[in-house]
Symmetry: C2
Subunit: 318 residues, 2 copies
């Protein structure tokens, strides 16, 4: 079975762990969000790709969900001693090596997809990890700060400001000119199932879908497309998805996110057991829906979620 | 008193410490060798400039004479785990930060001289540290390896091969097209004394002198130019200067190095007490010479060497 997964960072990576456990023989292709990529200290940092790679490759800091385990911060301390920031983005020494290798390879002319493949040769994540695009896409968020409307990089909104101010708009700058990375459209066309993990519907999955050709390829693939709600009981399970949902005019409810994806894209939608009441609303929108436990409290719970999604895919297919 | 010093790495840096102690009120400009600069992991590394900066700024690893004190090697370990080398060049985590800042600034368009000034704003070395040139100059060494004559980067010859094979030629690639960095010629023209520390006469001071205009400016400055022999008793005090001296056809003796610089450049030359016999030979070549203790065994010994050099400068002037 060939499964394509659109993934953001922490939520997507943990979901993929459950997927590997639930479908150990499946052929897995992950299309990773690169809209939150950022240049820091002259180095290219790809937080979502790295979170997937480290999580599936056994290098992740389990507690925080991103960055490397057994990490130190010598390089960052020294950069601060030079007065070079930003200080709000926590790059550890081990993590720096990844960004150094990536930047060196990009500088030598390799596209991000080839770089990602080279990095994965070490981490052996057990999935084929593709960036959504080799072209630069950068999610910017419009906010008011110091009395002025301005656009900041998504990481600045998310990490520096911790989404503490309203987002007036979320714009994947460059997405309209970006091309899907080599292999992305082919993987979708060849897939038996497409899954949307409980990742951020705006800045993770939404950004991937903003690359021209990807949404269309998924809609046209003629295979079940099943999503899992990142909203449980009207609040994001993790992170601050409600802030960016508001920016695109979507309520923070499991049903509203399903309608946001739409029946033209989504065949099935899993909501959490506490959102049983949303099932009818989602089905009224033409999307098959079921309420099941959706808290990724551990590998078993996550694998059970995956099995529900794959079971729903079979129902859709039948 | 305005003193200009041409400096390589470890020897030059230790000499400068003695100079600061012996002449605390002097205005010191250091023209640093950049011929051993190297790009590693996509980062610009300037070993000699950094050794001067760290030594005078209190960050040097005192035992090895280069690199940072209290160093760890996480980044390097990770790069090796990615299969990315070279592994023979020992960059520590703290040191990496310097190269990251430098590379970021160079990428943003700042010349190396401006970058060096910015780095020194942290280290406050107490001297004005200028790279010999903002243009790329890279010392290559011709060697025989695996039955073939080939050119390797100086660092590869010095660090990887530890100068264990004969050097057939030493070429400062790019030097003929390089321009002295801003301030270099002005500092020489304004100097009261020019000093050549006991640095490598070929790959350190020789490379600086290979930048068109610098040798001429020193010869034309009309001020005493005093050097200290890096060769004591027919062997280099430190390092492997004999290997590269052989490549340029110069004997490893204190007198031969003085003649190599020549009376057109050098007014005075200090040899070690054990080389008393060289004094007459050097003076016969038209260069004032004296035998004094030249082992930089500590700050006091080095300061005493500096005082001898400055005393000789006064004699030349008188």
């Amino acid at each position: 079975m060939r499964i394509v997964v659109l993934a953001g960072g922490i939520g997507g990576a943990r979901f993929l762990r459950g997927l590997k456990a639930a479908a150990p023989d499946a052929d897995l292709t992950v299309i990773g969000n690169t809209g939150d990529d950022i240049h820091l200290f002259g180095l290219k940092v790809c937080p979502d790709l790295d979170t997937v790679m480290y999580t599936l490759g056994g290098g992740i800091n389990e507690e925080q969900g991103w960055g490397r385990t057994d990490e130190t911060f010598r390089v960052k301390e020294e950069l601060a001693a030079y007065g070079v920031g930003p200080e709000w983005f926590g790059l550890g020494d081990r993590d720096f090596a990844t960004h150094i290798v990536r930047t060196q390879m990009l500088g030598a002319g390799y596209p991000l997809s080839a770089v990602t493949e080279a990095l994965c040769a070490r981490w052996k994540p057990g999935v084929r990890l593709l960036p959504m695009s080799d072209d630069r896409v950068e999610t910017h968020v419009a906010i008011d700060e110091d009395g002025e409307r301005k656009a900041v990089h998504f990481q600045e909104y998310w990490v520096r400001l911790r989404a503490s101010v309203p987002a007036h708009a979320v714009v994947p700058v460059g997405a309209d000119q970006a091309k899907p990375a080599p292999g992305v459209l082919e993987a979708i066309a060849d897939a038996d199932v497409v899954l949307f993990p409980p990742s951020n519907p705006v800045v993770s999955i939404g950004t991937i879908l903003a690359v021209p050709g990807i949404r269309e390829a998924i809609a046209d693939a003629g295979v079940p497309v099943i999503g899992l709600s990142p909203i449980v009981g009207d609040a994001p399970v993790r992170g601050m998805a409600d802030k960016v949902l508001a920016a695109v005019g979507v309520e923070s409810t499991a049903a509203a996110v399903a309608r946001h994806y739409g029946s033209g894209l989504l065949d099935g939608w899993l909501v959490d057991s506490v959102d049983e009441a949303a099932v009818a609303e989602v089905e009224a929108a033409g999307i098959r829906c079921r309420a099941v436990p959706l808290m990724m409290t551990g590998l078993d719970a996550t694998a059970a979620m995956v099995r529900e999604a794959l079971a729903m895919a079979e129902e859709v297919r039948a």
